[in-house]
Symmetry: C2
Subunit: 486 residues, 2 copies
């Protein structure tokens, strides 16, 4: 396709999308009306109903839809695998999204009924509006626009739509494993649109998330809790040991004290450093959102670097000790400290685990305590990082420039979103996180919304992205392995 005809097609598509805003919002209204809360078991049937609606909508696009059942006791909703187009000349993009939502109740502080999509001042309020029903529909509507205009599909589409994301994506990883030689074998790129921009106004692409290594450190004394009057002063109290162990982990500036823990952290390159300069980020607003009075750092770059690409350690609490209001003069027999490390490339999970164990055992040994120490890592999610120079990212960047008139921020997420890492690790495909929601959308909060602007322009940016991907035909496999750069 020539440049001018491409441009004409794009214009036609954008016009169509603008003209059908009301239809697209009607679609979202229909979806938001389903209380597909996957967290509360008694609403599981609504999630299952939601999956049928999503499958029907894909089928209406002309996609082949396969709903895979999972789950034993309480029925799990199916995972939808859809596909549309099998042109061997085209690249294949697999879109991942979810149509289940977080719990919501009007009385939690919603200004409007959470399951009735309501537009106020250009914002579409409703549970799932931005997380993740809106983006899923934006993608579907972008695909639908090509069909409505009877235009050839510029790429082949695949869809993975699940209904258990808010409950930990139960069963999804297993399904990916099973399908990696089948459904995923001819996929070129995977797109996830389940995040937000860092700014209220400026688009962003996400190329990394931190990992999460969760630790339990258990100190056990005798077999029962004791009274501090009867035993205080003559025994090694397990909680005193535990407090000392926890106190050895991190200093007042947030620096982790575990020897060698920073050794594997990827060196910050000049190119990477540059990415941080242009990022639109309101420190004051982030601080105000946190409710804290003062952050550990004062510049945008320092804050974002410590949030995204340096590890952090947080202590969450203690199990087994007295935790209620008031006073109980107990010497707890067995206490379990909980902390986690948000690790970053290229920290290896098993290396982190070993260093934590060695450090805690070393600190404990110096105490000469007869109590028993047990350190475990019940949960370990790896960090994820993609190469922003991959054609996939460049295509998304161009689509954004076309629709929004500016380059996106390349950002990371300090949280752990295992889905990107899991898709990348299992399928060995390139993954992009391509959000269309704004920083203030309030996913998981009361009054969740997506703006009409973001929803409609998001639809356009996905359509423009398809056209950009189409341009990559024949050059998509030139780059290095996914996710090894940082």
């Amino acid at each position: 396709m020539s440049l001018s005809s491409l441009s004409a097609l794009r214009t036609e598509i954008f016009h169509y999308i603008d003209a059908h805003q009301s239809d697209f919002i009607e679609n979202l209204k229909e979806w938001v009306a389903v209380e597909s809360d996957s967290v509360q078991p008694d609403l599981r049937k609504e999630v299952i109903r939601m999956m049928s609606l999503a499958a029907a909508r894909l089928a209406a696009l002309g996609a082949t839809v396969n709903s895979l059942l999972n789950g034993q006791h309480l029925p799990l909703p199916p995972v939808i695998l859809g596909e549309l187009g099998k042109d061997p000349q085209n690249l294949t993009i697999c879109f991942y999204g979810h149509v289940d939502v977080q719990p919501a109740k009007k009385e939690d502080g919603w200004k409007t009924d959470p399951f009735t999509l309501t537009e106020i001042n250009g914002n579409l309020y409703g549970r799932g509006a931005t997380d993740n029903k809106g983006p899923v529909l934006a993608w579907i509507n972008a695909v639908g626009t090509f069909r409505a205009l009877k235009r050839a599909m510029p790429v082949n589409f695949k869809f993975v739509i699940e209904g258990m994301e808010e409950a930990g994506s139960l069963g999804l990883e297993k399904l990916l494993e099973e399908e990696k030689q089948g459904f995923f074998s001819d996929v070129d790129y995977i797109v996830i649109s389940d995040n937000l921009w860092l700014s209220k106004k400026k688009p962003a692409l996400i190329y990394g998330t931190r990992g999460n290594a969760c630790f339990c450190v258990e100190v056990e004394g005798g077999d029962k809790d004791l009274h501090s009057g009867t035993f205080g002063g003559i025994i090694h109290e397990p909680l005193t040991d535990l407090i000392a162990l926890l106190d050895s982990l991190v200093d007042p500036t947030g620096h982790i004290q575990i020897p060698g823990i920073y050794d594997a952290v990827a060196v910050l390159t000049d190119e990477e450093k540059k990415l941080y300069e242009s990022i639109e980020y309101d420190i004051e607003e982030h601080k105000n959102n946190s409710g804290v009075k003062k952050l550990l750092y004062s510049t945008k770059e320092e804050i974002l670097l410590h949030l995204w690409r340096y590890p952090s350690l947080s202590i969450h609490g203690i199990e087994g000790a007295f935790h209620e209001p008031g006073i109980k003069t107990v010497i707890p027999a067995k206490v379990i400290g909980k902390f986690s490390i948000r690790q970053v490339p290229n920290m290896d999970l098993s290396d982190v685990h070993q260093r934590v164990v060695d450090h805690l055992e070393n600190v404990f040994a110096k105490r000469n305590s007869p109590n028993k120490l047990k350190v475990s890592m019940p949960l370990g999610a790896q960090p994820w990082v993609a190469d922003v120079n991959d054609p996939l990212y460049k295509a998304a960047k161009r689509a954004i420039k076309t629709v929004f008139g500016e380059d996106p921020d390349f950002i990371r997420d300090g949280s752990t979103i295992p889905i990107a890492r899991i898709f990348q690790t299992i399928t060995q495909k390139r993954v992009i996180m391509f959000p269309i929601g704004a920083a203030d959308d309030g996913e998981h909060s009361q009054n969740e919304k997506i703006s009409r602007f973001n929803y409609i322009e998001g639809t356009k940016v996905f359509a423009a992205f398809f056209l950009e991907i189409a341009k990559l035909r024949g050059q998509s496999h030139e780059t290095s392995n996914p996710g090894t750069n940082n």
Copy 2:
């Protein structure tokens, strides 16, 4: 009374007590049958019924009985003030005891019904058998024996019997204040028999208890809990601050790290040290009871000194942090550490309070944290110590030698029993803790018991004690102020 006639009287009394064992046990059986559990509000009526039984029994002795009502919402049982004898030639002993009990249910692991006194192998099992119905009845029966034998009362008696001890002696302190110029004005000595010997076999007198200064140390960051992915690494986490504060309190050997905290601890005298040598105390058994593998000290003297007459600091837990099983990657916004110091003579409560505040503020200041620190002492009970050379103690010692054939151990209690201190402080009378139960009686536990031997010999020892007190006429006010020696 001549020595020989005294001895004859004593013999007569002891014979009477031996001959009426079954009656005395019947009395105890009747009392144990009342589920006078003051902890559970729906059993309050049983506590009130128990108070009537106790009042009736005192009235049967010939005592004047006054049942003082207290309480507003849920009716509190009355406190019984009884008196028997007003001979100005006699000294007046006030006996304190309680007839309410801890909760008990057969299914908690009792071998017998907890409210049916049951004798097995010389032990009388039942809730309240040793705590405190048995000792109260032993005292009443000892008094009753003089009446039954138509003997002149060797002393005047007063009784304070309450029914809310297990629920914190609600209202008692206020009543003592109100009655200090009235009921208590002509009292010479106060006897409390609400403890146990340190040994299973060897009698003991208790002359001290540790105090308890309970602290809350609160660290507050922002106004809401945060997610460790979104804020980990860029904020001063309140729990990290709190862990450091708690870790600054006590070293691995149990030594308190608060500057100057030991300054006021009374110096151990040679005389006092000697008291520890003869004490019968089974380290192995105490260790086994605790369930711990190793104590901080290995000799009897070191253990008892650190339990009774040196302060200890125990950390109890943290409110506001994650305390459940599993992992929650939360950064808690406000956390409150709970710890307490068992303080000893002559540590002053307000001095302890000030030192704790100063120390924690000092440690906190060095962290440069923007979080808010708040230290409070919601509860402070003072230690209590009596002079073992007081004639009161010598009289009890002689009574014990007469009945049990050996001198008692002079012991303390590492726990805080505010009652002794409160009686002493408010009434300014000399107080003795005069237990008749053995170390293995299991107060508050399943299968609580008092042995027939302890119950009957305890009755005798109280009777013998009355005779010993009678000997003190004219010399009771010679010693120094109560409780200032250590």
